[in-house]
């Protein structure tokens, strides 16, 4: 027990009979049925290597999936216009249209340049599922993508007969710039705010490099990462300067990177206007530039759709998130806390006695007395007819609209809707007349 808590204990402020009873009940509780030792043993043996990493992965594929993805890397897709279910783990590589980093795609086709680097003769060594088999005669195919000709150099970097330092060779000045300063990008399309990696196909020693990202930003790192802050299509330029003699080779690939805008996620919600034991809260998507929406409540319920209705039957602050996705798969998240409470949440008593004796003669949840936000407080009879309604902190004295008074022993349901800055909070319970 902490010192702070011991101090509280001395003052007698903490832990009444209720807490003591709970602790005692839990102390003698037998515990729940847990999986047997064998499953634990296999976990120890490496089934869950990494522990926390293993766990977070399970959270991602579990029902809490979308929640776990939010805040981490937002996925993107550059190969398909179809909306991809955000719950599925997303492979960044879908058809080889972006990556050519052989570390990332080990199965990637390896291209080898034989002999003179200016020679366009290439041979396929192994074939990946992502690359069509290319013959030298397939020139139009090679030109199809801006960076495709860079790819044929990848194998050279990997190949056994790698040239140690091509920049030092005399002919570096003569070979086409497409090869002398060949480079590529790990994604050709991404969302605003996503980091994109740039690298030379053959990292060279004894050179200085300068990357121009086309958005006014530059880098002199050999393999920089860059975040584009605005949507658009960008020309990328790499300048390579040979240190020995200052020779500069510059290569530009036009329209290499396309950045898609993120949607603006937002939603509103409505609570019931009458007393409910299990209030349904309906949400409405108000996002801009979004083609699909996914709802998450308390990190566990997930629904798709423009609007959604949830039973918020647990007492407390419910965290509701809306993940909005654009047609390109860019995402953003809106989040609000929605409070649903019983009489304890708003300081409502369980009973009152409108008999004029000056004690508990009227009923008003005490939380409303100094509330700054607008609210509606309603009391209903058994049939659901509203017998009292106010937007002022005015107590119900037990008077009924038809005349007469609430009878002793009868129960009345009530509700309070508080209009918060973001949206409404809801409280509902029952009061008994004594």
């Amino acid at each position: 027990m902490s010192d702070e808590r011991k101090e509280e204990k001395r003052r007698g402020a903490a832990g009444g009979g209720f807490e003591q009873g709970m602790r005692s009940a839990l102390e003698k509780a037998p515990g729940l049925a847990a999986p047997g030792w064998l499953s634990m043993q296999s976990a120890i043996a490496g089934g869950v290597a990494g522990g926390a990493a293993g766990m977070s992965w399970r959270w991602i594929v579990g029902p809490a999936a979308t929640a776990a993805i939010i805040g981490g890397a937002l996925w993107w897709s550059n190969s398909t216009e179809d909306a991809v279910d955000p719950v599925e783990p997303v492979e960044v590589v879908e058809d080889g249209s972006g990556w050519f980093d052989e570390d990332v795609v080990p199965d990637h086709a390896v291209w080898r340049v034989e002999g003179d680097m200016t020679d366009s003769a290439v041979e396929v060594e192994g074939s990946g599922p992502m690359e069509p088999t290319m013959e030298p005669t397939d020139a139009p195919e090679l030109e199809r993508r801006a960076s495709s000709e860079d790819r044929e150099d990848v194998g050279n970097a990997e190949g056994e007969d790698r040239i140690e330092d091509p920049a030092a060779a005399d002919d570096w000045a003569d070979i086409p710039v497409e090869k002398a300063a060949a480079f590529g990008v790990d994604m050709e399309a991404a969302c605003v705010g996503i980091e994109i990696g740039f690298r030379m196909v053959k990292p060279l020693d004894e050179v200085r490099v300068l990357w121009n990202f086309g958005d006014g930003q530059f880098s002199s790192e050999s393999a920089p990462n860059h975040v584009f802050k605005a949507p658009g299509t960008y020309d990328i330029t790499l300048s390579v300067t040979r240190l020995s003699d200052g020779l500069i080779r510059t290569r530009t690939i036009e329209n290499l990177v396309t950045i898609h805008p993120n949607p603006e996620a937002e939603f509103t919600w409505e609570v019931p206007s009458t007393a409910k034991k299990m209030p349904k809260v309906s949400m409405r998507n108000r996002s801009r530039d979004a083609s699909s929406a996914t709802w998450i409540v308390d990190g566990e319920t997930s629904k798709a759709g423009e609007s959604a209705v949830f039973d918020l039957d647990r007492v407390g602050e419910h965290v509701v998130q809306l993940v909005a996705s654009s047609p390109h798969g860019c995402q953003s998240v809106a989040q609000h806390s929605i409070e649903v409470g019983s009489r304890f949440g708003i300081g409502g008593s369980g009973r009152f006695s409108p008999n004029g004796d000056g004690r508990y003669d009227t009923f008003l949840p005490r939380g409303l007395v100094q509330l700054e936000q607008p609210f509606v407080f309603r009391v209903e009879d058994r049939e659901g007819h509203i017998v009292f309604e106010t937007t002022e902190p005015k107590a119900w004295d037990g008077a009924l609209p038809e005349g007469g008074w609430a009878e002793a022993g009868s129960a009345f349901a009530w509700s309070v809707v508080v209009q918060g800055v973001d949206g409404p909070a809801y409280f509902s319970d029952e009061v008994i007349v004594e």
């Binding site: 027990m1 702070e4 808590r5 009940a25 047997g36 766990m55 809490a64 776990a68 407390g316 019983s342």
Partner: protein, 202 residues
């Protein structure tokens, strides 16, 4: 031949083991021996799972935390110095991992509330006619806790059961001390109400 799959579930023994016995198991586990690990696991898994379930709403998610928690226990068992109970040492690890899991799944986000509300809500409830709280069953307690949001149950469990102070809770959960206190007051009243109902039905 692989081992036959016997007892797919373990249930903790009803009587706590002898302290000397526990010491021997812990020392065995500290030496990296599977034998000690197995005894510790089979003795405490059920009670640790109960502790985790007080925080985590889902069964499957709680089992994940249990497994990762025991991995952490066995990795760090060398750091246990036999001061304080071993079960308490383990439970602290489990509770921390449960809170981490809630945070990772974004179930602990919270927006603060006004201090004015706090005054209204922190006055003491009359403690007359206290029911026999200690006779509550674990299932009743879990069912009642399942009726609270993750933040409410985390605050309640950390304060009432684990014995943390509100300052520690505010740091651990990333909320203000005032929020911790008002959440505690509300969670406590709701739980009392629900559990009183359960005891009446018995």
């Amino acid at each position: 031949m692989g081992q036959p799959i016997v007892d797919r579930f373990v249930i903790s023994p009803s009587n706590p083991p002898d302290p000397e016995q526990i010491r021997a198991w812990v020392q065995s586990a500290q030496a990296g021996e599977s034998e000690g690990q197995r005894h510790i696991y089979e003795t405490y898994a059920g009670r640790m799972l109960l502790a985790i379930r007080r925080y985590i709403p889902g069964e499957q998610e709680a089992l994940d935390v249990l497994q990762d928690g025991f991995l952490k226990v066995f990795r760090n068992v060398g750091g246990y110095t036999f001061r304080g109970s071993f079960e308490g040492w383990m439970r602290r690890i489990m509770v921390n991992m449960a809170i981490d899991a809630l945070r990772a799944s974004r179930q602990l986000q919270f927006v603060g509330e006004s201090e004015a509300m706090l005054d209204v809500l922190s006055e003491r409830v009359e403690e007359e006619n206290e029911p026999e709280w200690a006779s509550l069953g674990q299932q009743d307690i879990l069912e009642a806790m399942d009726r609270l949001t993750p933040m409410y149950r985390a605050v309640f469990n950390l304060y009432a059961i684990e014995g943390y102070g509100h300052r520690e809770i505010s740091i651990q959960l990333g909320i203000s001390e005032g929020t911790s206190k008002s959440n505690y007051a509300k969670a406590r009243r709701n739980l009392r109400d629900l559990l009183r109902q359960k005891l009446r039905e018995q």
